[in-house]
């Protein structure tokens, strides 16, 4: 029996792009009065941008999904929805299993704390128990190659060191579903290779990866299924070679 790791059913997600970034108290109060006086139902902040429109797909256990598309196609929104950082306007999302997300460089790390303290803090934020981090601590440090800088506040780290620390913790939390958003852009060649190897190793097991990247070679290496997104809709899905070549022929030239 196939077990489903992630299921999206007709998922739509919009963001408000009104003039004011934040709602003001006065807006809400005047709106409340308007509603009472004129029975007007329209909200002030109605201008919307659809990041995802009616997206449906399914990831089975052991499947490694790659998501490609231009900037603003909705790739990162999908990861945010899977990890429950944000919620859809409509549609259903089912996720089974522990999620390990590496969505943005340095999120969850605190600049004032040392590398050691950050490993524990980030582990806790990702839902690891302290005992678990204790057990894996040496492996995490070894993988990150930051032995020398463990007790330095990480505000003194370079961005490559940030990425190494973050990725190392995520990759050792042993999730059922690994979400990776374009992390290979930072770090030197050597560490990129190491991350890819780690991901390939992970990809071979019964667990799932959702991988976003503009690095199409990396996608080909890791993924066995690819979705092509364009302006919030799925334009193509299938075997990596097929989708990637159609992406290259149809989109890349217009993009350039």
């Amino acid at each position: 029996m196939k077990n489903i790791a992630i299921e999206f059913k007709n998922v739509s997600k919009s963001y408000s792009i009104s003039r004011h970034k934040y709602r003001r108290i006065t807006d809400d109060i005047s709106l409340a009065f308007k509603k009472v006086l004129t029975k007007e139902q329209r909200s002030l902040v109605d201008e919307k941008f659809y990041a995802l429109k009616n997206v449906s797909f399914q990831v089975d256990g052991g499947m490694n999904l790659g998501i490609i598309g231009k900037n603003g196609a909705g790739k990162s929104t999908i990861l945010k929805l899977i990890s429950k950082i944000t919620y859809p306007d409509s549609g259903n999302i089912n996720v089974n299993g522990r999620i390990g997300a590496f969505i943005e460089l340095g999120a969850g790390l605190h600049p004032e704390l040392s590398g050691r303290e950050n490993i524990y803090l980030y582990g806790a934020i990702l839902g690891m128990k302290k005992r678990e981090v204790d057990e894996k601590f040496r492996d995490i440090v070894k993988f990150s190659e930051l032995e020398k800088f463990l007790d330095t506040p990480i505000k003194r780290y370079s961005s490559g060191m940030y990425a190494r620390l973050g990725f190392s913790v995520v990759s050792f939390m042993n999730p059922d579903i690994l979400l990776i958003d374009e992390v290979l852009a930072v770090g030197d060649k050597n560490f990129q290779e190491k991350c890819l190897l780690k991901m390939e190793e992970f990809a071979k097991g019964s667990k799932s990866i959702v991988f976003i990247s503009h690095n199409l070679d990396a996608i080909k290496k890791i993924c066995n299924w690819v979705i092509l997104l364009d302006r919030g809709q799925i334009k193509a899905s299938g075997k990596p070679e097929k989708v990637i070549s159609s992406y290259l022929s149809n989109y890349a030239d217009k993009n350039l």
Binding site: I85, E112, I125, K129
Partner: protein, 260 residues
């Protein structure tokens, strides 16, 4: 609600980690470090003693005024610190909220936890004062545990409302400190509760902080038990607000990442 509380219990390690982080960061690169936790209520005590005892001769019910005011400043500072840090806890961690998933209520609760530690440190100083003034400690002091528990529940309730509302309305950032300041005067910090006119008393004691502070003072330095009907009211009000606040927070939590 039970479901949420269970989940929150599952995140206790995260709560501890974030509380530790908050404590470490607060005093990082300061020279005096945790001494600041004591200096705050201590300096207020000195000012209050000069102004209200020496100048204005406020009645402190036979207790030395420094002790009288410190016994209230202790739970009051705990309240004020928790609220001022906790209300901003969600927006101050915006990068965390918009990029990692975890139960968001641990953020305000971590501020509360850090303030609780400050409270403990000042508590030791308070004990020192009690011995210095040769005040008789009685078994009534055991009441501090339910009293502080009530205060914690009440603060958590307020923080659930405030920290989520600040995300929606940034204006609150400026309103909160103002309200906290005014609130101190509706609470028997400077004066004894007995000076509140009888016809205001029922309204006055609806404020759980008034009861918490009066009870704390009674059991620590006056050797008297708390007024049970009043403490009961405070507990009921706090628990109701906590339930409502938690539900509200959980409802609003879903849009945090989109707005923040």
């Amino acid at each position: 609600m039970i479901k949420y509380l269970k989940k929150l219990f599952g995140s206790r390690e995260l709560l501890i980690a974030l509380t530790k982080r908050e404590i470490k960061i607060r005093y990082k690169q300061t020279t005096l470090g945790a001494i600041w936790a004591i200096l705050q209520p201590l300096s207020l005590m000195v000012i209050f003693t000069v102004v209200f005892s020496v100048f204005l001769k406020v009645d402190s019910q036979g207790v030395p005024y420094p002790l009288f005011s410190f016994s209230a400043l202790l739970p009051w500072t705990f309240f004020a610190t928790s609220i001022s840090f906790g209300a901003l806890s969600v927006i101050n961690n915006s990068s965390l909220v918009s990029k990692v998933y975890f139960p968001r209520e641990v953020l305000p609760l971590a501020s509360l936890g850090a303030a609780l530690l400050d409270f403990g440190i000042s508590g030791v100083i308070f004990l020192g004062f009690i011995f210095w003034y040769k005040t008789q400690l009685t078994l009534q002091i055991l009441w501090v545990f339910p009293i502080i528990a009530t205060e914690i529940v009440f603060i958590a309730a307020l923080l659930f409302f405030l920290s989520s509302l600040v995300v929606l309305w940034r204006d609150l950032k400026f309103i909160v400190p103002l309200v906290v300041q005014v609130w101190m005067y509706t609470t028997p910090v400077i004066y004894p509760i007995s000076r509140v006119p009888e016809n205001f008393r029922a309204l006055y004691t609806l404020n759980p902080m008034a009861i918490v502070i009066d009870s704390f003072r009674r059991v620590t330095i006056m050797g008297k038990p708390p007024v049970l009907p009043e403490l009961g009211t405070a507990i009921v009000v706090s628990v109701i607000l906590f339930t409502a606040g938690y539900a509200f927070f959980k409802l609003k939590e879903r849009v945090f990442a989109d707005i923040i």
